[in-house]
Symmetry: none
Subunit: 214 residues, 4 copies
DNA sequence: TATGAATGAGGTTTCATTCAT
DNA sequence: CATGAATGAAACCTCATTCAT
């Protein structure tokens, strides 16, 4: 699914080249920021010519939607992996479910943190190039969370379950991402916990938000 | 206190020039990202020559520590303002205190969000240039939070008050910043609350983290 | 008759492809300058591949002689059209004949000005690629003019009728082309006449050249 | 007088650099067309860096007004030269005056033909960059011609002297330029005359235009 | 010491031409 | 043979940094 500014590739060779380019780009994204990656660098790492890149991508900015597309693919692949299957057990209670959720998020971050970082940055800096995909992704996510919360309707004290699901999504994402991506540089630098302790604490904060009465 | 890469200026005129440069830089920082600000632009806005800048600053990167210095100054000025005085009332309870804290943080963000954004980004992208000041700032902040929490020792269930203070600091910062700086682009895009509702919800999450038993 | 750099096409399909390319090229020539037309553009408009073009034409420059060929074809077609038939009437006098000639030239320019413009420019910028065809065309034209002038031998005062014919050809071409192709930009910008008044004035200048005694 | 897109240079060094650039540009203009001159080439020939050029000229197009400015300067210098002084003698008659005029034009062309060529081309292709200067130049020229014609009011048969002056200007310019700049490539290729014979013939055509009655 | 002109490496982009499929 | 993907040289332009004045 070619994004904005990317040209569709149909021929076998063309697709192969596109993949080489995309792979090279993703590899470079793990090393450095988008702005510090030159088109020549992508070409060189992909083993193709600069012109080949401009046959597939209108300009350098056309790479930005790629970041989100890749991110979505990875998230889907992650969710599809049986190892990451999440089936909340109503008997075990809400806190346990939340703990599993924060741990899952942590596992994803360990694998694809750099991609997530790039996705976040560009969802911010170039919203025009990102489109609605990001919003759609978030909305779908929130709906999933709401379903989980309904399983624990007895425990949850928040009156509006959808709003509670959104806040849950927000706290979980924001909490995990900062801790995972910038453990030493941002506010996470104060934290001296292990990832296990952190995911537990974060789960507790969300739990506390959900179950304490007004 | 000249940072890394900045040359010391002792003479009166020299200091004045430095101030003009710094002011110009800060003004530009409110308009655009560091990467999009050229040295010539700073010079022009400051009303000095490019050469004058290179007499004070080794290179463009030497401006980065400046961002943090300014941030610190603003934070201190904010705290010194009687309007922002925060004196937790043990009688009113922990939740009330937390609410006031999130509201204060929100007010700061409204004033100096751009600066904070720049500080965050560069603490991340150029940690080498930021030095220990950031860590010191966070440590001092955490110590202050610990003091507040001790006022409500009866309510707090977390065994280690220092660790609890750090987590409080983390949740508050991360939660507020994302909501305040990127309300439409990051994960905050799911939230449909007003700032008031949000600061209240965030206070509740921190409260929940602190008061729920294991 | 394939020009310099153009490869001969004998097969029926091949000829058809050549025609598609040539048509596309001519259409594009009406829109923009030769330098601004890319080979890929010609291919796309012709509905053939870039490779197909390079099978017929050695390189992009091989299109230049094509401009002249097309120009010649158009001129011939124009002359063959009964509507443009020119039969000078010795009774009506030289001035009337010259007026008809300038009017005819004007009509041609209105139809195929762009082509003529391209022909002129390339006869100038790439004389090597244009060959002798241009000279032949001019010589034939001059011969035709000489014949006309001989019909009005009584009026013409110039001693050498061939030289007079050449000057007539020159004045007519140069005068009409500049006025027709660059009415607003070149020296024609000073003229405020209608085309009718202009063709009449031009005829008068040529007439004056021919009939005034030394 | 800096044209559109050119930045003003005040310092001595700056002006010197500008002159080096302009000289190099003019030299290159004699060798090849504007489109075939690269910025790097100008820099190299001027003995300055590419960046120095972009400090004076906003972009490559900013060189176009330079062509016209230079052209104007040359024309003025030419007119100021006593050797080229033109004082029509009413006693000598109109034809003699016209002959002197065509000869003068020819002399200018021999000196600065290439510049004139470039001026003509860009007055045509980039009227937006040329401004009104060109029109002003032409209008002033036409006014001068009208004055000359009035000296020979007895001979001139054209009713409107201003219109006659414009046509005179047009015929003289167009006739001379084509013959002078493209003697072998355009319609001038048919002419086998010497420049002297040609200027005489051209003067005769203009003379004929002016003196023959309707 | 201050100025701002000059440097030049490095970035993005285009497109005539080649060549694997 | 046709196709169109790939090549890569070369163009324009920017800007952190240096250095003559």
């Amino acid at each position: 699914m070619a994004g904005q500014g990317e040209k569709t590739a149909l021929q076998a060779r063309s697709i192969q080249t596109r993949n080489k380019i995309v792979s090279a780009f993703e590899m470079l994204l793990k090393e450095k920021a988008f702005e510090d990656i030159s088109v020549a660098e992508i070409a060189s790492k992909a083993g193709v010519s600069v012109g080949a890149i401009y046959r597939r991508f209108e300009n350098k900015d056309a790479f930005i939607p790629l970041i989100l597309d890749t991110y979505k693919k990875r998230i889907e692949a992650f969710a599809a992996d049986p190892a990451n299957h999440f089936a909340p057990d109503p008997e075990a209670g809400l806190f346990t479910a939340l703990q599993e959720m924060t741990q899952l998020a942590w596992r994803f971050l360990e694998q694809d943190g750099n991609l997530l970082r790039a996705a976040y940055i560009h969802a911010r800096t170039r919203p025009d190039l990102v489109g609605d995909e990001w919003d759609d992704l978030l909305a779908a996510s929130a709906a999933g969370y709401a379903q989980v919360l309904r399983l624990f309707a007895g425990e949850v004290q928040r009156p509006d379950i959808n709003e509670a699901a959104k806040m849950t999504l927000y706290l979980l994402n924001v909490g995990i991402v900062e801790f995972g991506l910038y453990p030493k540089e941002g506010p996470a630098a104060v934290l001296t916990m292990t990832p296990e302790a952190f995911t537990r604490s974060l789960a507790r904060a969300i739990y506390g938000y959900l179950v304490t009465a007004d």
